[in-house]
């Protein structure tokens, strides 16, 4: 990260709704020009955090700085936002809706209309321009709203669950759009409960669980938090070699699965060979972000609640 400027920052954001703490001291740092993901299960506080950072709602306590401004609305002209609950005026033609969203953020309406046509044209959707939103499919309307989010060429784009509701093809298009924006120097923040997207796109992630940041940093850093996983099949069912396996090792359908012990692979191999385990297959795999997420969010949740781990199945 080094000397990179900071596009968005949050310090100890707290939000209470009717006495319930939805966000409990979230701190985040988003470097300019990066793609950052906010990861967490549904109801973890991602949307509330985003809404506070954008100034839609005021935090109960804590501060945030958006593009150098402590009042986020003052940066509105340089920010694009796609809310989780998409919404457009149903009777507005698509191009007009894009121009309107630009106008809200200070783009003159004429320029907005011109750019709307260019954006639609560029994606082969020029026939949508005059169609009222209500005649478009949900996916089409979402594309229109996304174009409205970037029409004023913001420096910072915030997308709340942008992949939900899109088919595989459109998810791929959206990923490309996010990469293009970042390549052009725009900072992108998006929230998701689908880890695969974060893993493919993000430079940095913040994992939020139970209203708290369980992890914030680079994606590699998150993965490195977990020890590699060992998959092992042996001919012998039992023997002295079993003492080399950690207590948490699980045997599922004849295959042992456990975290690589602190000592590394060598002592393990030696114990297996000396104990005549009869190794059939052995693989040591680096954990994915998915494993890291479950480990981090689950552990944090377990610490806070005192029981269980998150039940969410995050695989895309």
């Amino acid at each position: 990260m080094g000397e990179r400027a900071i596009a968005a920052e949050a310090h100890g954001l707290v939000k209470e709704f009717d006495g319930q703490r939805a966000v409990d001291g979230v701190s985040l740092t988003v470097p300019a020009g990066s793609i950052s993901g906010i990861l967490g299960p549904n109801g973890a506080g991602k949307t509330t955090t985003i809404r506070m950072m954008l100034g839609i709602i005021e935090p109960t306590s804590g501060t945030r700085v958006l593009l150098g401004r402590e009042r986020p609305l003052e940066a509105a002209r340089e920010v694009g936002y796609l809310p989780e609950e998409r919404g457009l005026y149903p009777s507005m033609p698509a191009a007009e809706a894009i121009a309107f969203m630009g106008a809200l953020r200070g783009l003159p309406i004429a320029a907005g209309r011109r750019r709307a046509l260019e954006l639609l044209d560029g994606r082969g959707h020029s026939d949508w321009a005059k169609r009222p939103i209500r005649t478009l499919s949900k996916g089409m309307a979402q594309t229109v709203q996304l174009l409205g989010t970037i029409v004023h060429r913001p420096k910072l784009i915030v997308l709340d669950e942008p992949f939900s509701g899109l088919d595989a093809l459109n998810q791929e298009k959206l990923e490309q759009l996010i990469r293009d924006q970042a390549a052009a120097g725009t900072t992108v923040i998006f929230s998701t409960h689908v880890i695969a997207h974060a893993e493919r796109l993000c430079e940095r992630v913040a994992i939020i669980a139970q209203g708290k940041v369980a992890f914030e940093g680079g994606v590699d850093e998150a993965r490195d938090r977990l020890r590699p996983i060992v998959h092992l099949r042996t001919r012998a069912e039992d023997g002295p070699w079993r003492t080399a396996l950690p207590a948490s090792a699980q045997c599922i359908a004849g295959e042992w699965r456990f975290e690589l012990p602190e000592g590394g692979p060598e002592p393990l191999l030696k114990a297996l060979l000396d104990g005549n385990a009869g190794i059939e297959t052995l693989s040591i795999e680096r954990p994915g972000l998915h494993d890291a997420f479950i480990a981090i969010a689950g552990a944090a949740a377990a610490r806070e609640m005192g029981h269980g781990s998150i039940a969410e199945d995050e695989a895309a």
Binding site: E16, I56, I57, E58, Y89, L104
Partner: protein, 406 residues
């Protein structure tokens, strides 16, 4: 957020709302709507006139010798200058028959003529049989005729005293009364326009809330700008409506009455200033009451809630109007000053004052005062919206709740 930025954002919101309303098919209905009752009025007015023309004064049959009848008829004739817009009873002679009871019954049951009753007994023992009007008017008239007939023409030839009459175009009494009429008329116009048009603001934020556009708006512009934009968009739309209706009304008056307005006495400030003030005070009353409605309606989350709210809110307008109308005719009274100071009734009170007093500066003061309150109401509405709908900032609690949570 700076003021120019807020105004710019408000303009973007207003432009969208205005276009969405005015360029819709339903707007045509909106424009035509108020013309329906006028058209109905013209139509029913015509029918009413015909009914009135067909109505004849009530008849009473008088069973009496011809001499008695003539005395009564002459008495009626002498008194007739005192009859108001409802003419006196018409007396019809019926020569006495041997069986009085049967004759009376026959006359009462005769369906050929509309008869309200039968009079017999002559001047000595007058007796009336028949339907009696609720106000006792028929019997009172008969009694009056009998009294007058008893006095007879012998008391005096009554040519009527001659009074020399000097005609004055207006007297102070009639001018004050006529100006009160103009004052009440002005208030009525303001009231009807406000009640017709401001109610729409109750549902102004329902669309954004139900289709989630509010999230896009709230992320991009201050809530104040959203409220301001919506209020002014509806004001602009209402003014277009008023322009159309006024033009239609003026055309109708010119066509049917041929300068009928000329008969009205000019208000104290003169017609041009009065019309300008009606427009200005309508704008203010619309912004004040509309701003309040916008704030109240923004709290509702469903169309059903808005519908439920609309009746109490209309009642509130009626109360405000009632308070302001108390002050008509006594512009210096405590009620009048109070109604002019209370922001919501101020436009109504001030338009009445314009009809009755020719000083201009209080209007400048009042408009400034009202504009200040428009700003206060909008700020307040936006703040409450942020708090209770967006759940922004620390939750508002009752004092006892605060103690509990502390």
């Amino acid at each position: 957020m700076t003021l120019p930025e807020t105004l710019r954002a408000a303009f973007v919101i207003a432009r969208r709302d205005f276009a969405a309303t005015v360029f819709s098919k339903t707007f045509l209905l909106f424009l035509l709507g108020p013309l329906f009752p006028v058209a109905m009025g013209v139509m029913f007015g015509g029918i009413g006139n015909r009914i009135d023309a067909a109505r004849t004064p009530p008849q009473v049959a008088v069973i009496a010798p011809l001499a008695d009848f003539r005395a009564l008829a002459a008495a009626r004739e002498r008194l007739s200058p005192l009859a108001d817009e409802r003419p006196f009873l018409v007396l019809r002679h019926a020569p006495p028959e041997p069986d009085l009871a049967r004759q009376r019954a026959a006359l009462l049951n005769d369906r050929e003529t509309e008869r309200v009753g039968v009079f017999d007994g002559g001047l000595a023992r007058p007796h009336f049989t028949g339907a009696v009007a609720a106000d006792g008017r028929i019997v009172r008239q008969m009694a009056m005729f009998v009294d007058e007939a008893r006095r007879g023409p012998t008391t005096a030839a009554r040519p009527g005293a001659t009074i020399k009459v000097t005609l004055a175009e207006t007297s102070s009494g009639s001018l004050a009364f006529a100006r009160q009429l103009v004052a009440r008329g002005g208030q009525m116009i303001l009231f009807i326009l406000t009640i017709l048009l401001a109610g729409m603001l109750l549902s102004q934020l329902i669309e954004e809330k139900s289709n989630k556009v509010i999230e896009i708006l709230a992320a991009a512009v201050p809530i104040d700008a959203i409220f301001l934009g919506k209020l002014f968009a509806m004001l602009a739309m209402s003014l277009i409506g008023i322009l159309v209706w006024t033009a239609a009304g003026a055309a109708a008056i010119a066509y049917f009455a041929g300068g009928g307005l000329g008969a009205l006495p000019p208000p104290a400030v003169g017609w041009p200033a009065f019309v300008a003030l009606i427009l200005l005070y309508f704008t203010m009353s619309y912004l004040l009451i509309g701003g309040l409605f916008l704030g109240i309606g923004a709290q509702a989350s469903t169309v059903r809630e808005v519908q439920t709210l609309s009746m109490p809110v209309t009642m509130m307008q009626v109360v405000i109007f009632g308070a302001a109308s108390l002050a008509v005719g006594k512009p210096e009274s405590r009620e009048a000053i109070g109604a002019a100071i209370f922001p919501l009734s101020s436009p109504f009170a001030m338009i009445a004052r314009a009809a009755e007093e020719d000083i201009i500066w209080p209007h400048v003061l009042a408009l400034g005062w009202q504009a200040l309150w428009v700003a206060v109401i909008l700020k307040l509405a936006a703040a409450i919206f942020r708090r209770s709908v967006l759940k922004s900032g620390p939750a508002w609690r009752w004092p006892w709740q605060r103690r509990k949570s502390a």
